[in-house]
Assembly symmetry: C2
């Protein structure tokens, strides 16, 4: 069955003729032929084509894999909607329509609520702690177990760093200011807002600006200054709030169909894996290096008012977030398992942060 | 000349026969032969063999390169002293005695003071900001320019995260408590201590414990709880101070002899580079995941007293550190160039940290 499936899969996805082989006549042929075989893969993504940093991360992944494999693993990257819709990525890779996908795991909460722990949960990890949990704290094994149920192999392949809290047209001085607030905020952040009495609405990326400008929505979150500046939100909203309590270090993912993965020789497997590490640290570095210049432009040129959520609001949101995430964890055994591991690691890394990264952040004021 | 040099180098380092080729008789031979050629390299390191996390980082680098290259680039790793002394690594790679090295750039301050900016300077970057500066803020280009003068290509290949401030047998309540203090603290940290009236002494790793236990030194820094616990310092000193103001995110390096680098085909170059990214993020994740358990053991089992340097002491050390680093920058044009780039990026990332990582560190208390 398995061999048959594999053969069908190979036929389906178009992995066919070995790249070379003709003209080689020796006992070394089989090994060389295997090593020199060329794989042509497709990667579908949840991003607009070449979307800054996020889509670029997918492009880079393909480029680095191509370079490292000497052209033996060629991956064509498709923007959301070019081959399958952005939110069709998971199914397309799971079913083997394409070999690879790129997105963020919380998009697949409908497949399994547990996926959200591997992208962002409100008041969750920053990038450094998410990486430590995944790579060295057992998180990756749980993610692999979860995705294996969908015939997928997951990789962490990028991070946005701490995001912004969003754009508002009125000040948020107390939790009561969230009551009735119509805000574009997807996922668990939206559920938290709903618990606070607000209206979390879904608006596609291309329509947010118009909705905000016309007052259809009162507020929106997006990513951070680099992306938000391009969206022009400063023309439609006065206040830019921080921190992004709902996305404190969102992990981006690459995923590979497990049958396709199993057809790869070991060297190509190692190459794909290393490329995701490179992409992970590259993307965070880009965000860290480029966000501040955009923030300065928003403040200095466009006169945006930068504001911090008051402590009482963050405290209220944290309490509600805990309830929301507990509900996710109660949904099924995999979610419980992921959350238990997450909580254990969070306790551990919080203690460590207290005497390392936290005092580091204070040194700049001395 | 250049071709001749390369041929001599190839002969010298023993890169000779292509791995395969016999038995292949076709027009495809030259390309395949080049692709299948096996390189046997040596990597010398500044660490004891397989030293936890740091030496393991070198081992992993070699392992991942081997896996990704399908055995075409084999690197044998040598601990410090096995082939060349730990502090002979730079010269050995620079001169082409071996192809690759692994250490930390501040060990080479005697070659060029500018090297220190690429490992750690007092009150410098944490790991995330160092990466952002190097990968996306122009730092790597300066490092490459600096090392090219020594026929070397550098890579950032690991990070310790924020280190500890060290082990003390008396409390440090004021800057005056540093006067006359005999402390094992190398490099720029030592120069800062000397400016504060202390005695910075050099003690090899294997002799620190005995020196501390016998009162030959009053204090020592090392790395962090995971390594310090193994060294048994808790048996010889009462107080464990934080934060490690002198090493807030020490970068580890891999370096390759430029002639050896230039013999590699493009795919192997890309493989070596990706392996350093993987090693970089792997090492930091290990530190972040494992330090706290060791810290708990130090506190709960060995009753170590964890103490934070008072603000007045950190403020005094920061002032002296600024003087010391300015002196480094004044040493030569490359140091000036590195420091100017460092300062510009630090201003940028500090502003960004204020509304992202800094408030993130406060959320745990809500």
């Amino acid at each position: 069955m398995e061999n048959n499936d594999r053969r069908k899969f190979i036929k389906k996805v178009g992995i066919g003729a070995a790249a070379i082989g003709a003209g080689i006549a020796s006992s070394a042929v089989p090994a060389i032929a295997k090593k020199q075989k060329t794989y042509n893969w497709k990667m579908v993504t949840t991003w607009p084509p070449h979307f800054p940093m996020l889509g670029e991360g997918a492009d880079n992944l393909a480029k680095w894999i191509d370079e490292m494999s000497g052209g033996r693993l060629k991956i064509t990257v498709y923007g959301g909607g070019e081959l399958v819709p952005p939110l069709g990525v998971f199914d397309a890779v799971s079913q083997g329509t394409v070999e690879m996908g790129h997105g963020a795991a919380y998009y697949w909460a409908g497949k399994s609520p547990a996926t959200q722990f591997f992208a962002a949960v409100p008041f969750g990890f920053n990038a450094q702690s998410l990486n430590a949990w995944l790579y060295s704290g057992g998180g990756m094994k749980i993610w692999e177990e979860l995705y294996a149920k969908f015939n997928l192999k997951p990789f962490i392949a990028g991070n946005t760093g701490v995001q912004m809290g969003g754009w508002f047209n009125k000040k948020i001085d107390a939790m009561s200011d969230l009551k009735g607030l119509k805000m574009r905020i997807p996922g668990l952040g939206g559920k938290v807002l709903a618990k606070a009495g607000g209206n979390a609405v879904l608006v596609a990326g291309g329509e947010i600006y118009t909705n905000l400008d016309r007052g259809v929505i009162d507020a929106t979150e997006w990513v951070g200054p680099y992306h938000d500046l391009k969206m022009g939100f400063y023309k439609a909203a006065k206040y830019y709030y921080y921190p992004g309590w709902h996305e404190l270090g969102t992990g981006l993912e690459a995923m590979v169909n497990l049958n396709a993965w199993n057809t790869l020789p070991d060297d190509l497997k190692a190459i794909v894996e290393a490329a995701t590490y490179r992409s992970n640290i590259w993307m965070l570095s880009e965000f860290e290096a480029k966000n501040n210049a955009a923030l300065r432009e928003l403040i200095d040129v466009h006169k945006v008012q930068l504001k911090k959520f008051p402590e009482a609001v963050l405290k209220g949101l944290k309490k509600l977030s805990k309830e929301v995430v507990e509900e996710v964890a109660a949904a099924d055994p995999m979610s419980r398992k992921a959350y238990d591991s997450f909580l254990k690691f969070q306790k551990n890394v919080y203690e460590w942060n207290k005497i390392t990264e936290e005092p580091y952040q204070q040194l700049k004021y001395l």
